[in-house]
Amino acid sequence: MTLAETRALWAGAETDGKEASMSDAQLMELVLNRSARLERTLRRRDRRELVAAAVVLVLLAPALVVGPWITRAGVLLIAAGSGLIFMRLRRARALPAPRPDRPLAEALRAEHARVNAQVRLLETVAWWYLAPLAAGCVLVVGGVAGATLYTAAYAAAVLVVCAAVYWLNRDALRRDLRPRRTELERQIEQLEA
C-alpha cells in the first residue's frame, strides 16, 4: 500500500456510516447537558467535603465548652485533623489542571503530576487522615466514659473502621490511581522517547 493509497483509504473513512449526524440543536443540547453534569459533579464533591468538615465541628463544638479536658483535647484533635484533611485535599487539587488544548506532552505531564499527588496522599492516608480522627474520637469518648470496657470496645470499633477505610484507599490505589499513573508514564515515554 503506497502512502497515497493509505491516505486515500483513511480519508475515505469520512464518517464510516455515521452520516446521520446530529442537527446543530441536538449537538448543542448534548454538549451543554454533559458539560453541566460535569460541573455539578465537581461542585458537589467540593461542597461535600466542606459540609463534612463543618458538620463535624458543629457537632463537637459544645464538648469544647463543657466537657472534661480529655474530651476537649479530643475535639481539638478532630478539628485539627479535619483542617489538615481539607488543606491537603485542596493543595492536591491546586496543582494545575491538565488543559486539553495544550500540546499532548504538556497535558500528560500535568496529569501525571496530579495523579502522582493523589497517589502520595492515599499512600500516607493512615497518618494524615485516619490517625488524628481516630485518636480524637477515642479521646472524646474516653473523656466522658472514663477508662472503662465501653471505651475499650469503642476504641476497638474505631480501629476496625479505620482498617476498613485504609483498605478501601489501598484498593483505590491498586485498581485506579497506580494503573493510571503507569499508563501516563507509558504514554509520556512513547511520546518523548
Binding site: P98, R99, A107, E111, R180, E183, L184, Q190
Partner: protein, 179 residues
Amino acid sequence: MSDKTPLAGPESERRFLALIRENEARLRRISRVYGRASGTEDDLYQEILVQAWRSLGSFEGRAAPDTWLYRVALNTALSHGRRGAARREASLAGRGGESEPRDPAPRPDEAMEATQRRERLYAAMERLGDADKALVTLYLDDRSYREMAEVLGITESNVGVKLHRIRRRMGEWLGEEAP
C-alpha cells in the same frame, strides 16, 4: 480535564458549531481509532465535543484552530484510554501498549475491498500505543512535521524518527509496502 466553561451565548455556539462541522470527519476518525477496540467510539466522540466546548473559552488564537482542536481531541482520547487501562486486569502483552490485532472478518454485506482494507488499517493502528496512534492519525491527515510537533509538544526531529519506526512496523503488520 478542564474545569472551565465558556460564556454561553449565540456567538460562542456559532463558533463552536462551525469548528465542529468543519472537522467532524476528523473527529469521527479519531474516535474510531481510540474507541473502536472498546466499543466506546460514540461516547468518546461526545466527550471530545464536550471538552472542545469547555476549552473554547481558553482558545486564545495563538494556535491554529486545527492544531487547537487536534490537541483537545487527542488529549481527550488519551484520557479516555487511560480510564480503560485502569479497568483492565492485565497489561497488554508486555509490548508497551501494543495488542494483538483482532482479525477483522469480512462482513458479508460489505462488498467493497476498500472497506476491508480500511478495517485492516484500523486493526493495525490498534496495535500501536496511544501516543503513537496520535502521531499516525496526524500523519494520515497529511499534517506537516511542524504541525505534528505543535500538537504533540515534541520536536520535529523526534516526529521524523518516530514516524519512520512506526511506518516500518505498520508496513509489516499490513503485510504490504510500508505507507
